[in-house]
Amino acid sequence: MNRILIAVCAALLVAGCGSKGGTSQQSKAAVESRDLFQQKDQQAADEAAKQAKVQQEQEQLKQQMEEQKRRQAEEARKAAEAEKPVIKPLTDTAMTEKSLSDPASMLKDAASPLSKRSIYYDFDAYNIKAEFQTLVEAHGKFLLEHKDFKVRIEGSCDERGSREYNLALGQRRADSVKKALTLLGVPAKNIQTVSYGSEKPKALGHDEEGWAENRRSDIVYPGIDAPR
């Protein structure tokens, strides 16, 4: 049964290769004939192109002059307007900003701390270092304001030492982020944790650079972030 399958696959492959070869040869022939045709009419085409170019240059010059006139008129109008007082209704700028951007794009805004999702650790440590407090607080604030959003905290470790110990350590890392978020008021039910230990390394190098990258907790928004 297997052998028949393999034979059929092989036959299909051979057939596929054959037809592909044919197609590329045909298209090559078509290109060559077009080249010959173009050579024949080259001189006439060159002449037409020259004329078109001169015409184009004249058009451009005309446009530039008109543009200059328009700008001068605009400046004169603005100078007159500056004399008048400007009256605008007062608005809550924070409210306006929020209604303008949906939560999902807030999470992706590269300028916002929310776009950063990874907390890094020292070897065999699970405490959140001071430099990652802002990041955790930003996500805590976001989750507080968007109670319909859930997150998954994924804890990871570098490859050194014991896989089983690292699995437990990765859980501690994820749990420490969860704890920080709940202390900010985020409902615990909205935070899931998982440990990958040293089993799903993001960096594959067996060196300090790779290890540092892999000692990490990721804050993952399911549906927004791609699964790893």
């Binding site: 490859e159 014991s162 896989r163 089983e164 110990y165 699995l167 437990a168 859980q171 067996h206």
Partner: protein, 443 residues
């Protein structure tokens, strides 16, 4: 002596088992046979002192079969590091019966032990393998057996002969008929393999794109417990090797990790984080009767039962760094065992219960170490830098472990006296997580 093959060892039964497995588990992504993939190649690096000299002659008519018994026996004996296998000399025809042995000739060549025999193809399709180990100084047979087998059992019977020779000459059981399990990593998938102790006949029992770790053999060799991430997080399964079925042992909230069988095979120790940080629990092999053994607010994991079932060694960072502790099997009388260095993990009791292997960090290197439980002295047995997952051979003579060489995971083995070293490589990206199966069968 009739040899009965375990169903999954013979090729026909194997395909049947695999089909059953697809139906049961349905997690396998690739349906192609992988008997040729991840085959292990074992290279002996060191050599022991006081090697026993032995000459293994080709068995008469063994060349009529694909698997040549004398070659398999010789390779087994060499790999153990305890024998010096000598060349077969020039006397022809080669003896295959005691009456044909020219003792004078062999004694003059310094051969103390001579292995002879023959392979007979019977009319009923079966094969009779006769082997005798001759003591040339006594001019007598030391041991001899005749086995009636079918052709696919040829390698198995060769290992059995090697075991008999090993036991007769060293007084300890041989482990050539045992099996090992390990995890092979390929670009898009992980496979849990079971292979003969010499690396042959490797076949996967589970394949998935998510990681598989921590395989542990049941004491009777019929089941393997392991941790699989196939459901997106760590879950402990027990996989039956006889019928290919499996079931979940533990899928509590948090991690489900580090399964370790009790010596009677009735219970397993586990590391679970369902109550907070990872703690050690025991559970019946059928999934009932979960009992918490440790009560710390630190990581407790990697339990290993003593062979008499009275103690459990485990890893804990309750003292500020991961160290090895010992407690009674009920969780009482916790005692710290390691004090040197800031990272000592993965304790594994030796089969005689007198020592334990573990992984020790030493000047930034993670190496295999062995602690004598009587003297509490440790020796370092490996010289690489990212070693892990030690697994004793069931006779305690060799320790298999995972290492990284040239950026790839390999398996390595070292004798418990540190003299013999083996490097085991495979045609996978990485091989890792070795577990050595028990001594089983009609020995």
């Amino acid at each position: 002596m009739e040899m009965t093959g375990r169903p999954w060892q013979s090729r026909r039964a194997d395909s049947k088992h695999r089909r059953a497995w697809y139906v049961v588990a349905g997690a396998v992504l690739c349906l192609f046979s992988t008997t040729a993939r991840a085959q292990l190649t074992i290279e002996v690096i060191g050599g022991g002192a006081d090697q026993v000299p032995i000459t293994v002659l080709p068995l008469a008519d063994e060349e009529k079969f694909q698997q040549r018994i004398s070659q398999i026996v010789s390779a087994d004996l060499v790999r153990s590091g305890r024998f010096k296998v000598q060349d077969i000399g020039s006397v022809r025809p080669l003896p295959s019966e005691p009456t044909e042995v020219n003792y004078r000739y062999w004694k003059n060549r310094g051969t103390q032990t001579l292995v002879i025999g023959k392979v007979i193809q019977r009319d009923d399709g079966k094969v009779e393998v006769r082997f005798r180990m001759m003591d040339t100084s006594k001019e007598a047979q030391a041991v001899g057996y005749a086995y009636t087998i079918v052709v696919p059992q040829m390698r198995a019977i060769a290992h059995k002969i090697a075991d008999t020779i090993y036991e007769k000459l060293t007084g300890e059981p041989g482990v050539f008929s045992t099996r090992i399990a390990y995890v092979a990593r390929f670009p898009q998938r992980f496979e849990l393999h079971v292979a003969d102790a010499d690396g042959f006949n490797s076949q996967f029992i589970l394949a998935h794109r998510e990681p598989i770790i921590s395989p542990a053999w049941s004491p009777d060799g019929t089941r393997i417990a392991y941790v699989s991430f196939e459901q997106g997080r760590s879950i402990v399964f027990i996989h039956n090797l006889v019928d290919g079925t499996r079931r979940i042992l533990a899928s509590y909230d948090g991690i489900n990790s580090a399964p370790a069988w009790s010596p009677d095979g009735k219970r397993l120790a586990l590391a679970l984080s369902k109550d907070g940080v990872s703690q050690i629990y025991v559970i019946d092999a059928d999934g009932n009767g979960l009992v918490r053994l440790t009560n710390s607010n630190a990581i407790d994991t990697e339990a290993s039962f003593s062979p008499d079932g009275k103690y459990i060694l485990f890893t804990s960072d309750r003292g500020g760094s991961p160290q090895i502790y010992r407690m009674s099997a009920s969780g009482a009388n916790v005692e710290r065992m390691t004090f040197d260095g800031g990272y000592n993990v993965t304790p594994r009791y030796s089969p005689d219960g007198k020592a334990f292997a573990y992984i020790q960090r030493n000047q930034g290197r993670y190496t295999l170490a062995l602690m004598d439980l009587t003297t509490r002295q440790s020796v370092i047995l490996s010289d690489s830098s990212l070693d892990g997952s030690p697994a004793f051979a069931p006779n305690g003579r060799l320790i298999l472990y995972a290492s990284i060489v040239g950026g790839h995971g390999i398996l390595a083995a070292v004798s418990s006296d540190g003299r013999i070293k083996q490097k085991i490589s495979a045609s996978a990206l990485d091989v890792r997580e070795p577990a050595w199966g028990p001594l089983v069968g009609n020995r």
